[in-house]
C-alpha cells in the first residue's frame, strides 16, 4: 500500500510542477488535504487488487474442475483417459516429491536450461549489438539467421546426439540454439531504437567507446534484452522436454517418457504438472525483473 501511495504522490508532483514550476511548498501543503481525498480511491484500489488475485485462482480451479470432469465423470470406467485423472496425478506428485526421485530430474533440467540460456545470452547479446549497430552486418546475416531460426531445434536433436552423444551436452547445445534468436533480435532492435541524440550527446561529452557503451548503450538496451531473455526462456523450456525425451536418460522430459514406458500414467501427468509449474515460476521471475528494470519512456529524447 505504501508503494501505491508513493507512486500516486510522485505522479501528482510531476503534473503540478510541470505547470507551476519549482513549488515544493505547494506540494507539501497539498499533501495534507490529499491524504483525506486519497482514502476513497485507496479502497477501490485494494478491491481491484483482491479481484486481480482471486480471478486467476478461480480460473485455475475451473481448469482443474474441467480436467476432473473429463477424466473421472464423462469417461467410462474402462476409458483410456481415466488413468490421467487429477486425483491419481496429485497422489503421484506427492509421492515423487517426498521420495525425492523427481528432484534429480528437476535439477538436471534446470541446469541444462541455465547453461543453454547462459551461452545464448553471451552469443545473442554480442551478435545483437553487432547487427543492431552495423546495417551491413544485419543485411548480410538476416537470410541465414531467419533460415536457421525457422527450423525447429527438435529437428536437430538426432544431429546433436550423433555429434555429442547422449546426455547433457546435446540438450544444452540445442537450448542455446533455441534461445539465441530472440536474444539476437531483441538486442538488435534495442540498439537500433536508441535515439540518435543519446549517442551524439555521449560523444559531445567526450565519452570513449567503452564509456558510451557503459553509460548509454547498456542501460538503454537493458529492457529489450530482458524481454528477449523472457521469450528465450519460454521457447527453451518448451524445447527442453522433447529434446530430453529423445536423447537423454535424465531430466523432466526423460521422466515423462520413462513413466509412459512403465505404464505409470499418474507419474507421467505429475511430471507434466511439474514442467508447467516450473515454467510458470521462471517466467514470473523474469516478469518481475522486467518490471524492476522498466523506466518511463516519456521525456527520453
Amino acid at each position: 500500500m505504501d508503494r501505491l501511495v508513493d507512486r500516486a504522490g510522485v505522479e501528482r508532483a510531476g503534473v503540478d510542477d510541470a505547470v507551476v514550476g519549482p513549488s515544493l511548498e505547494a506540494k507539501v501543503n497539498a499533501g495534507d488535504t490529499e491524504a483525506a481525498e486519497r482514502h476513497q480511491p485507496q479502497k477501490s484500489v485494494s478491491n481491484s487488487r483482491l479481484v486481480s488475485i482471486v480471478a486467476p485462482i478461480l480460473t485455475a480451479l475451473l481448469a482443474i474442475g474441467l480436467w476432473a470432469l473429463v477424466t473421472l465423470v464423462i469417461s467410462g470406467p474402462t476409458s483410456h483417459i481415466r488413468p490421467f485423472n487429477p486425483l491419481d496425478a496429485s497422489r503421484a506428485l506427492a509421492r515423487l516429491i517426498s521420495d525425492g526421485a523427481i528432484w534429480l530430474d528437476i535439477k538436471v533440467s534446470l541446469m541444462r536450461l541455465a547453461s543453454g540460456l547462459g551461452i545464448a545470452a553471451i552469443v545473442g547479446i554480442s551478435v545483437g549489438c553487432l547487427t543492431g549497430s552495423v546495417p551491413l552486418i544485419e543485411k548480410a546475416t538476416t537470410p541465414v539467421f531467419q533460415f536457421i531460426r525457422m527450423i525447429s531445434p527438435v529437428a536437430w536433436t538426432p544431429v546433436a546426439i550423433v555429434v555429442m552423444g547422449v546426455g547433457s551436452a546435446p540438450a544444452i547445445a540445442l537450448i542455446a540454439l533455441t534461445a539465441v534468436w530472440p536474444l539476437i533480435l531483441n538486442t538488435s532492435a534495442g540498439v537500433k531504437a536508441i535515439p540518435h541524440g543519446w549517442t551524439s550527446l555521449a560523444r559531445s561529452l567526450g565519452a570513449t567507446r567503452v564509456e558510451a557503451f557503459r553509460t548509454v548503450i547498456a542501460p538503454a538496451i537493458r529492457l529489450p534484452v530482458l524481454t528477449g531473455l523472457r521469450v528465450a526462456l519460454g521457447v527453451a523450456w518448451i524445447v527442453l522436454v522433447p529434446v530430453e525425451m529423445l536423447g537423454s536418460s535424465e531430466g523432466l522430459g526423460y521422466a515423462i517418457v520413462n513413466a509412459k514406458d512403465a505404464l505409470a500414467y499418474d507419474e507421467l501427468i505429475a511430471a507434466i504438472v511439474i514442467v508447467g509449474v516450473l515454467g510458470f515460476c521462471l517466467d514470473s521471475a523474469l516478469r518481475y525483473l522486467i518490471s524492476k528494470a522498466s523506466f518511463p519512456s516519456k521525456g527520453d529524447h
Binding site: 561529452l205 567526450g206 542501460p219 523506466f295 516519456k298 521525456g299 529524447h301
Partner: protein, 282 residues
C-alpha cells in the same frame, strides 16, 4: 596556454567517439598562442553528402570567426546546413574541404534535451562531470550548484519524465554548462518549447552566458536569433552560404517584444524570404 583544435579535410578518418575531449584527441592541436580561448575559426568550409550524381553540398565556402565571449546566431531556412555547421564545430562531423578550428573546449545542447530516463535529474548533470573524470563527491556538489543556476535544485532527485519540457531543457542547459566549455554550441535548443517557456529560458541564458562563454546558436526563429545574438548570420539554402551578416547593436537585457528586436527581425525575415524564393526559382 591555448590549445587550438583543428578538424580539417586532411583527416580522412571518421570522427570517433572521443572527439571533443580537451586534450589527446584525434584532432591535431595547433599551438598559436595568439588565438584566445573561445575562438572558433571556420575557413572556406565545404561539406558534401553522398557521391557522384546524388551528391548534395550542404555547405559551400563558409568562412566565419566566432570571437571570444561573442553570441553568434545562425539563421536560415530548414536544410540550409545550420546543424551541419554546428556539428562540425562540435567535432561530430568533418568538412569535405576547408578547416574548422576551435580554441578551447566545446559543449553542445540539442533540440531534444537527451536526458537519460534511467538517471535522476542530478545524475544526468553529473554524467557530464563523470565523463570529465570528476570524483563522486565533487560532481555531486557541482551538479547541485548547476541545478541551482537553472533554478531546479529542488528537482535533483526527480526523474526526467516528471519534468515539463522547459524544465528538461533547463537540465540539459545545466549539463551543457557543467563542461565549463569555452564555446557553447546550441542547436535549436528551444525549438520544441512554447513561447512563454522559451521567453523565460532566453532570459536565463542571457544572464548565464553573455560576455562569458562564446555561443554559436542555431535557430530558424529570426526573432529569437536577434533577441539573443550579438551578431546574426543568415545562411542561404543548398548549398548553405553566408548570405548576410547583421550586427545587433541593441542594449541588454533585451526582450523579445522590443522595438529594435522587431525591426531587425523584420529586415532579416524579408531577406530570408528573398533567399528562399530565389532558391525556388532555380
Amino acid at each position: 596556454m591555448t590549445d587550438l583544435l583543428i578538424h580539417s579535410s586532411a583527416e580522412t578518418s571518421e570522427p570517433e567517439i572521443g572527439v571533443g575531449r580537451t586534450s589527446g584527441v584525434p584532432r591535431p592541436p595547433l599551438s598559436e598562442s595568439d588565438v584566445e580561448l573561445g575562438t572558433v575559426q571556420i575557413n572556406s568550409v565545404r561539406r558534401v553528402y553522398g557521391h557522384g550524381s546524388s551528391a548534395v553540398a550542404a555547405l559551400d565556402g563558409v568562412s566565419l570567426t566566432l570571437k571570444p565571449g561573442e553570441f553568434l546566431s545562425v539563421v536560415g531556412a530548414s536544410g540550409c546546413g545550420k546543424s551541419t555547421l554546428l556539428n562540425m564545430v562540435a567535432g561530430l562531423d568533418s568538412p569535405t574541404s576547408g578547416t574548422v578550428s576551435v580554441a578551447g573546449r566545446v559543449s553542445v545542447m540539442f533540440q531534444e534535451p537527451a536526458l537519460f530516463p534511467w538517471l535522476t535529474v542530478a545524475r544526468n548533470v553529473e554524467l557530464a562531470l563523470q565523463l570529465d573524470g570528476a570524483g563522486r563527491t565533487e560532481r555531486r556538489a557541482r551538479a547541485l550548484e548547476l541545478l541551482a543556476l537553472v533554478r531546479l535544485e529542488s528537482f535533483a532527485g526527480h526523474r526526467p519524465h516528471q519534468l515539463s519540457g522547459g524544465m528538461r531543457q533547463r537540465v540539459a542547459l545545466a549539463r551543457a554548462l557543467a563542461r565549463q566549455a569555452d564555446v557553447l554550441l546550441m542547436d535549436e535548443p528551444f525549438g520544441a518549447l512554447d513561447a512563454m517557456t522559451r521567453d523565460l529560458l532566453h532570459e536565463e541564458l542571457e544572464q548565464l552566458v553573455i560576455g562569458g562563454t562564446s555561443v554559436l546558436f542555431v535557430t530558424h526563429n529570426v526573432r529569437e536569433a536577434v533577441r539573443l545574438g550579438d551578431r546574426v548570420i543568415l545562411l542561404s539554402s543548398r548549398p548553405g552560404r553566408i548570405a548576410a551578416s547583421y550586427d545587433v547593436e541593441l542594449p541588454r537585457p533585451r526582450r523579445i517584444e522590443d522595438q529594435g528586436v522587431s525591426a531587425l527581425a523584420t529586415e532579416i525575415t524579408t531577406r530570408l524570404r528573398k533567399e528562399v524564393a530565389g532558391h525556388g526559382s532555380h
